[in-house]
């Protein structure tokens, strides 16, 4: 599976492009992306912030700020476990987007925050079942922040976390129903 990492050499952080490429290849294979699919991982090393998006699916370009891959205990160093969480989540979103049955989701930059977070929960839940270390409570806290600190939101979170084979429309419906319980 051809994976390209940009830049090939980092100067502001101590990341190894080979390590990121190997991790991405392994994840893409586990997730079941087509073997011939070309993937570009574009890292903006000029910022310590942690934004991460699927920039396009044709060709597949994943864009990340360096903080998204950074070890919270070792500044400017790569955290392989955290990187697997981020890259795995994004590759699962790529798989969803490439699946005609999933339906048309807006581009990442246009996603409303609640829908984006709901998709993240759905993806990280699947990633955890693939055996990767994830933080369920952290995702629940993110979800509650966007859907309310309510029993309805927690039930919606549980559905998303345990789900397989959702469509975009179903995902949006779960998110919107959770938000409908928010006080006016």
């Amino acid at each position: 599976m051809p994976v390209h990492v940009q830049p090939e050499e980092f100067s502001m952080v101590f990341f190894d492009a080979h390590e990121i490429r190997a991790l991405t290849e392994e994840l893409a294979q586990e997730i079941g992306l087509p073997a011939e699919l070309s993937i570009t991982v574009d890292v903006d090393e000029t910022t310590p912030l942690g934004r991460s998006v699927v920039q396009s699916v044709d060709p597949v370009v994943i864009h990340l700020e360096s903080g998204a891959l950074e070890d919270a205990k070792r500044p400017r160093q790569l955290d392989p476990v955290g990187a697997a969480d981020v890259l795995g989540r994004l590759l699962l979103a790529v798989r969803d987007r490439l699946d005609p049955a999933f339906g048309d989701a807006p581009p990442d930059d246009d996603l409303p925050l609640p829908h984006s977070v709901a998709w993240q929960v759905y993806s990280v839940g699947r990633l955890s079942r693939l055996g990767h270390r994830t933080n369920r409570q952290r995702r629940l806290y993110q979800f509650r922040n966007r859907h309310g600190f309510t029993d309805t939101a927690d039930a919606a979170f549980d559905r998303l976390w345990a789900a397989e084979g959702l469509t975009w429309a179903e995902l949006v419906q779960i998110s919107d129903e959770a938000r409908s319980a928010l006080p006016a």
Binding site: L49, R74, N135, R139, F149
Partner: protein, 286 residues
């Protein structure tokens, strides 16, 4: 038992990792980006729930509060022990009045409770103890051998920062609808106002007849305040992630001109950080 315990010997288990502040300062990356159409720079922005990264930013800040509480407990505990009981008015330094030790004992009680609250809040937010690195410069401010300077640096500067941070987190919880966070931060904020008030009161009492010592203490506070502004992370600007909580600082004994000075100190810290980043970048480019 030793007096004036060195920062290197603070007890931590294997979950905690310390990162020297210079590692942060030497980072050539910047969270501030050029603002479109201007020469100005914008930061990650004020910590409000509408920021896409808000939940994770709040988790990181909460962990910083937690390690700060540990160090505040350690600092107040040391102040109970490091000085002998005496008049504390400058004759026979390092003596302090017994009542000051009593205040520090009460503060230890508060800080221990804050540690417990912070751990429970971290569980609530999905943060593991030691998930983020620890800076020890808070405790380092609590190592000053003069009790007046120590109290000014810790209780007015550090606990003052705590007022700003807790107020930010309290508002964050309110807007996000997180009643647990809002309630906990509100109670801890009330304690911090008391701690700062203690620092303000003791500074005035112990230096009433020693203006030179008072000036040294205020200068030390200025140095610590600048450090605690964290390159503009705390400030009075619209985009400062943590803003000065002027109303609560007023309740804690801060005067308007002192808060204006603090805002200026934070601005200086931000400009110095920007210049530092530019220099770091130039060094990387060479």
């Amino acid at each position: 038992m030793r007096k004036s315990f060195p920062v290197e010997d603070l007890a931590r288990d294997e979950r905690f990792v310390r990162v020297p502040i210079m590692d942060r300062i030497n980072d050539p990356r910047t969270a501030r980006q050029e603002q479109a159409g201007t020469k100005g720079k914008r930061g990650p922005g004020r910590l409000t729930p509408d920021r896409p990264d808000a939940p994770d930013a709040a988790r990181a800040l909460m962990h910083g509060i937690f390690t700060g509480e540990i160090q505040a407990l350690e600092g107040a505990g040391r102040t109970c022990w490091d000085f002998e009981v005496g008049s504390g008015n400058g004759e026979g330094i390092p003596e302090v009045p017994f009542e000051l030790k009593l205040d520090m004992a009460r503060q230890c009680w508060d800080e221990a409770r804050h540690c417990e609250i912070s751990i429970k809040l971290s569980d609530h937010m999905g943060t593991e103890i030691g998930e983020f690195s620890e800076n020890t410069f808070l405790y380092e401010a609590a190592c000053n051998p003069d009790p007046v300077l120590r109290l000014t640096g810790v209780n007015r500067a550090l606990e003052g920062l705590a007022i700003d941070v807790f107020n930010t987190m309290r508002e964050f919880g309110d807007v996000a609808g997180d009643a647990v966070l809002e309630f906990c931060e509100d109670w801890m904020l009330a304690d911090e106002v008391t701690h700062v008030k203690m620092g303000s009161d003791w500074l005035r009492r112990l230096t009433a007849d020693d203006k030179e010592r008072q000036q040294r203490a205020l200068e030390f506070q200025r140095v610590v305040d600048k450090l605690f502004s964290l390159g503009g992370f705390r400030g009075d600007e619209e985009d400062s992630p943590v803003r000065l909580a002027r109303r609560f600082r007023e309740l804690a004994g801060f005067k308007d001109d002192e808060m204006d000075t603090l805002a200026e100190v934070a601005r200086e810290a931000r400009q110095e950080m920007d210049a530092r980043i530019e220099a770091n970048r130039a060094a990387v480019a060479q």
